[in-house]
């Protein structure tokens, strides 16, 4: 007997118990849908984070005080902080640098007329906009002279512009930042969420101005842009040599790739964890299949006896019942993929959580559904195939 014949027999048997087949499949449907959905969310979030980081360019180096260790941010480590002198050291001693920017961030409230907003203030250098490739929607970046003079000039992130100056050009307007007056010189196009939080909700002022405003003399980090991405390791080595005399080992230089690697590891782990949790429900679905197949085998003992009496071999009975279990799980798999995919699309559309259902995740969960059918179908089928025809025919 060939497989097509076994398949037809299996489909007929499943159709004969529609409600039961559907309920059995439900376990697999939920399991597969959960895998698709959760892995989709994990992949979506991971894509967004790495995407925004990659958007910064592959030739960036992040220089932070303290030694980087997984789980703790190097920038928050205790010890000596960077100052603008260290930035100067890098600019003076390291070759192949297209730009270097100080990074200093702190929270503040920005006001314009009766409108106000809580923002992150990013203090930077005149090369900052170039290093981070921020795109202007209007106006200009602050200039070298304004950084040296600690001028009260400010550039706004897109959401800040929308909030403070809806439907207006903010350039030339006045705002206050923690009570001090600033002149708006530019505003940026939307950049989306990023690593340091929402870049669109930031305001950008010269780092010197920021130090005065917050009454501090350090900077959080230095971002260096290599002129040529291929030289990134050379530049990295030069930076380390340049800072070693004053910092010893107490600083970290991370390339974009390393940062990305660390993040990908973390996000990948999260995705696997979600897949694992969803996989458990798939396993439960498989146990449901096994349970119902065992019931089915004992209900159909006499049928098995008849089939054996007229010439069915062990293999024929085995394949008939395995195919039945596999058909259940694969049908459940297909429906589960549809439900999971639909759910992911709905989440993408109606919530801020990004999702990404990949072909890999779909084929993996379908394969798992198939494997669950085989794994949990074999034992009941084996039991069926081993039945003695005489006993089976006597069974009531």
């Amino acid at each position: 007997m060939n497989l097509v014949e076994s398949f037809r027999i299996a489909m007929r048997a499943l159709a004969a118990n529609k409600a039961r087949s559907l309920l059995t499949m439900l376990g697999v449907i939920i399991g597969v849908a959960a895998v698709i959905l959760l892995v989709g969310i994990g992949t979506g979030v991971s894509d967004q984070v790495t995407g925004s980081l990659e958007g910064l360019g592959s030739n960036l180096l992040f220089v932070m005080p303290g030694q980087y260790e997984a789980g703790t941010g190097g920038a928050n480590a205790p010890g000596r902080r960077f100052t603008l002198d260290d930035l100067e050291t890098i600019q003076r001693k390291v070759d192949g640098v297209a730009g270097a920017a100080p990074v200093l961030t702190a929270g503040a409230t920005v006001k314009a007329g009766n409108r106000s907003m809580r923002v992150m203030v990013a203090g930077g250098g005149e090369q900052g906009a170039d290093v981070f490739a921020n795109e202007l929607a209007g106006g200009r970046h602050y200039r070298r002279g304004e950084v040296q003079a600690a001028s009260h000039v400010i550039a706004l992130g897109s959401r800040v512009t929308e909030t403070l100056f809806p439907n207006q050009d903010p350039v030339g307007k006045q705002v206050t930042l923690n009570g001090q007056r600033f002149t708006v010189i530019g505003h940026y196009a939307s950049m989306g969420g990023g690593l340091g939080g929402d870049q669109d909700s930031q305001v950008y002022i010269p780092v010197t101005t920021a130090q005065k405003l917050f009454n501090i003399n350090y900077i959080d980090a230095i971002v260096v842009k290599a002129a040529d991405p291929d030289d990134i390791d050379v530049v990295r080595g030069d930076i380390i040599r340049a800072l070693k005399p004053s910092f010893g080992e107490e600083f970290t230089v991370l390339s974009q790739e390393q940062t990305l690697g660390i993040l990908s590891d973390l996000l990948g782990m999260l995705t696997y964890m979600l897949a694992g949790i969803a996989g458990i429900s798939l396993l439960v679905g498989g146990i449901g299949i096994m349970n119902i197949m065992l019931v089915s085998v004992s209900e159909r003992t006499r049928e098995i006896g008849i089939r054996k009496a007229v010439g069915a071999r062990t293999y024929d009975i085995l394949s008939q019942f395995v195919i039945e279990a596999v058909a259940l799980s694969m049908l459940g798999g297909v429906l589960g993929i549809a439900v999971g995919w639909g759910g992911a699309s709905a989440i993408e559309r109606f919530s801020p959580v990004p999702t990404n259902v990949t072909i890999g995740a779909v084929s993996m969960s379908f394969f798992f559904a198939f494997a669950v059918g085989v794994f949990f179908g074999v034992y009941p089928a084996w039991k069926a195939s081993r039945l003695d025809p005489i006993e089976a025919l006597r069974y009531e």
Binding site: I306, R307, G311
Partner: protein, 255 residues
């Protein structure tokens, strides 16, 4: 050997067959040295009360079971020590079963039920349908192909079972109490079909406890306490067609 005109070759033969079951700690000697032979074209009854070993003998003759010792010779080959899968293939090829409880697959049409042995013989779909239809026509159910067992009377169901037994052109049709679950009229109709098939040259083995049913055959092998007590031709063979005529009071004769 029992009738001068029955000189066909031996289809199936048992030589010194014994069967011992072990039920927990008790050994049951169901068969204790049985020699029977069935010739091509014969109609034989295996008769005995329950517990006589008749069912065990039927299982061995039907290749559903293997003897503990002794030989079973089918078409000249010793099949007594074959594996279950090999026996399945032989049953498919050489034996057609008719059971007391009909044993049709429910939710499966008469035609599909009759096709079943051909499915396991690997016959293609079109050829299967053709032969199954032919077989159902042979037992007078050519107009019931698409009916399900639940839509057929007991007698009709048993005739579907006979059609299924015939469809592979087996060497032996083995009927185990074929009238046991039927009213007397349906039972006689089923016996008519079996006697007709025998008249057409098909070998029929009837297994029964009922003296009268057994007498529809040409020869009766009486089994008692696991041994053949008597193996003799039937003196006064009962003809089912005549019984049917008698039942109808000489009115309309049914086919």
């Amino acid at each position: 050997m029992n009738r001068p005109d029955n000189d066909g070759r031996v289809v199936l033969e048992t030589r010194g067959v014994t069967k011992t079951y072990r039920l927990e700690d008790v050994e049951v000697n169901a068969l204790q040295g049985v020699d029977v032979s069935i010739r091509q074209g014969e109609m034989v009854s295996i008769m005995g009360p329950s517990g006589s070993g008749k069912s065990t003998l039927m299982h061995i003759v039907g290749l559903l079971d293997r003897p503990t010792s002794g030989q079973v010779i089918l078409e000249g080959d010793d099949v007594s020590s074959l594996l279950p899968n090999e026996l399945s293939a032989l049953r498919n090829r050489y034996i057609g079963f008719v059971f007391q409880a009909f044993n049709l697959l429910s939710r499966t049409s008469a035609l599909a039920n009759v096709e079943l042995p051909l499915v396991y013989a690997g016959v293609g779909a079109a050829e299967r349908t053709r032969r199954a239809r032919e077989s159902l026509e042979r037992v007078g159910l050519g107009d019931r192909l698409g009916h399900y067992p639940s839509q057929l009377s007991g007698g009709q169901q048993q005739r579907v079972a006979i059609a299924r037994a015939l469809v592979n052109s087996p060497s032996i049709v083995l009927a185990d109490e074929p009238t046991g679950n039927l009213d007397s009229r349906s039972g006689i109709e089923v016996m008519t079909v079996l006697q007709d098939l025998h008249a057409q040259g098909i070998t029929v083995v009837l297994v029964t406890h009922d003296d009268r049913v057994a007498s529809h055959a040409e020869r009766i092998i009486s089994v008692f306490d696991g041994r053949v007590r008597e193996d003799a031709p039937v003196a006064q063979r009962v003809m089912a067609a005549a019984e049917l005529a008698e039942l109808d009071g000489g009115e309309v004769r049914r086919p």
